[in-house]
């Protein structure tokens, strides 16, 4: 399966933004930030919900790191946004992904949504809609591995692994071993306005 991010590219114009080691370090740093910002240890731990495809393994990794650093079990799951997307008309139908909530549920908890790339913000908007259907969190935060800019909605991330200034024509591909056999973040020139 091709990386979820955005369309076909020639291998020619491809730059590695983060190596496997960078990805690991970045996730670790984000884990520390979450611990600090959500006061883990003194309050109910937050619930991490990854947005499939790559947000889900990312959330699991983040939860693992947090537990490692804080010794607190972090409830973790995934939330599928396919049915909440606003671009259904423009894309071929996609298979539904899994929504898996931890047993704790989300009611009254801090929920951290986890995704690989923050771009237009539309995915996050869809995730907020999807989240509303499954419960009423105390607060919702957002963690992304890469923020590439070009927001189309008033949405910002609470935790950002790396800010990457990009042009609209470029593509950011996050590769994760769970899905893609290796860890990396790539920047690709999609040439003439790729498939988005």
């Amino acid at each position: 399966m091709a990386p979820r991010s955005r369309g076909a590219t020639g291998p020619a114009a491809e730059r590695e933004l983060l190596t496997a080691g960078d990805v690991a370090r970045t996730v670790a740093r984000m884990a520390h930030q979450v611990i600090e910002k959500t006061a883990i240890g003194s309050a109910d731990p937050p619930v991490l919900l990854g947005i499939p495809t790559r947000g889900a393994p990312l959330a699991a990794r983040l939860a693992e790191r947090i537990t490692e650093f804080s010794d607190v079990e972090i409830p973790c799951g995934s939330i599928d946004i396919t049915l909440y997307r606003d671009d259904l008309r423009h894309r071929p139908p996609r298979p539904l992904e899994r929504t898996q909530l931890p047993d704790t549920g989300v009611d009254g908890r801090i929920v951290v949504l986890v995704d690989d790339v923050l771009f237009s913000g539309r995915t996050v908007r869809a995730a907020l809609d999807a989240l509303r259907e499954v419960g009423r969190p105390k607060a919702v935060q957002l963690a992304v591995l890469v923020d590439r800019g070009h927001r189309e909605l008033p949405i910002r991330a609470d935790y950002v692994g790396k800010n990457v200034p990009t042009s609209r024509h470029e593509e950011v591909a996050v590769l994760l071993a769970e899905v893609d056999d290796r860890d990396a973040v790539l920047l690709r020139a999609a040439g003439e306005r790729g498939r988005r």
Binding site: D80, L83, Y84, R85, L88, R89, H90, R91, P92, P93, R94, P95, L96, E97, R98, T99, D129, E133
Partner: protein, 310 residues
């Protein structure tokens, strides 16, 4: 996929995708207080039923509404034959009025195909909700969903379809879909209720229900319509019931894991004994429940990517 007109020609991959989506939808909606997804917000779905069918119409209506589509029901009383507006004009009118999807039930075989032909060049999708004696694809999909759920898998399973195959669109759709999904289908019916040319179907034919039951994973009982009972297709309801009804004694011949299906509405006593219809092996209410999810999945697959399709 722009239209769903038949299960004939539907490949296993596409069918499985629809069934998977239906599963996902079922999971998503499970236990929710508000069964509403925003997926088809702003889309208009029109049901046009030239035959009465509360069951199917309601199922489609719920499917559309649970996905936030605007659902409009047009009930076309009686047949369009020779009176009133032609089917073609109705189709063009609904499309022009902004229907993203027209769901049609019609007594003429091929009516949905014709509708799709007339709507060529528009963005309106057509779903066949039963055309004459031809096909009823969403019924077959919901049957497959139910069987898959009960049996775990379909490939290599053996399913008996029993009764009036000649006049049954449900049978035709199931034969195509189930065989595409790797199911071995055996048709059990009196010779008068089998179509000429059934030899070309990828099924085995039997006239003896008792001989087939011990080796099937599921048995699908078809409706016997009242008008057939007086059409001389078999001597009497009693004799039909004796030979082809699923009595309690006969149901006992089924393996323990076997599933009993009926597309409804049931003629209890004649086609199927009440105790069999209400036994745990019967999946008849699940069929109805799955019907909504399967139809949601179909709407999703047809209406997604509409503008990317060209």
């Amino acid at each position: 996929m722009k239209h769903l007109l038949a299960t004939e020609g539907l490949d296993a991959a596409t069918a499985t995708q629809v069934l998977d989506t239906a599963d996902g939808l079922k999971r998503t909606l499970l236990g929710r207080e508000v069964r509403k997804l925003p997926t088809l917000r702003g889309r208009t779905v029109i049901t046009v039923f030239y035959e009465n069918s509360t069951r199917t119409r309601v199922s489609f209506e719920l499917a559309g509404k649970w996905m936030s589509a605007d659902v409009v029901n047009v009930s076309a009383g009686g047949s369009s034959v020779g009176k009133g507006e032609s089917l073609r004009d109705t189709a063009l009118t609904l499309s022009a009025a902004g229907a993203d999807c027209v769901i049609i039930r019609h007594p003429a075989s091929g009516a949905a195909h014709r509708l799709a032909d007339w709507l060529e060049g528009t963005s309106t999708s057509v779903i066949n909700a039963g055309d004459g004696m031809h096909e009823h694809p969403t019924q077959a999909l919901l049957d497959a969903a139910t069987l898959r759920e009960r049996l775990g898998s379909l490939d290599g399973r053996r399913v008996a379809i029993v009764g009036d195959v000649l006049h049954s669109r449900v049978a035709r759709s199931n034969v195509h879909l189930l065989t595409a999904l790797g199911v071995e289908v055996v048709i059990v019916a009196p010779p008068t209720l089998l179509p000429a040319g059934i030899d070309a179907w990828p099924v085995t034919v039997s006239h003896e229900l008792d001989a087939e039951l011990p080796s099937v994973d599921a048995v699908m009982m078809l409706r016997v319509q009242a008008e057939r009972m007086h059409g001389g297709f078999f001597p009497s309801a009693r004799e039909y019931s004796i030979s082809y009804g699923l009595s309690e004694g006969r149901a006992a011949l089924l393996p323990d894991h076997a599933v009993v299906l009926h597309p409804g509405p049931m003629l209890r006593g004649m086609e199927i004994a009440s105790s069999v219809a209400d036994a745990p092996s019967a999946a008849i209410t699940e069929q109805v429940r799955n019907g909504v999810h399967v139809r949601m999945a179909v709407l999703y697959h047809l209406l997604a990517g509409e503008e990317a399709r060209e």
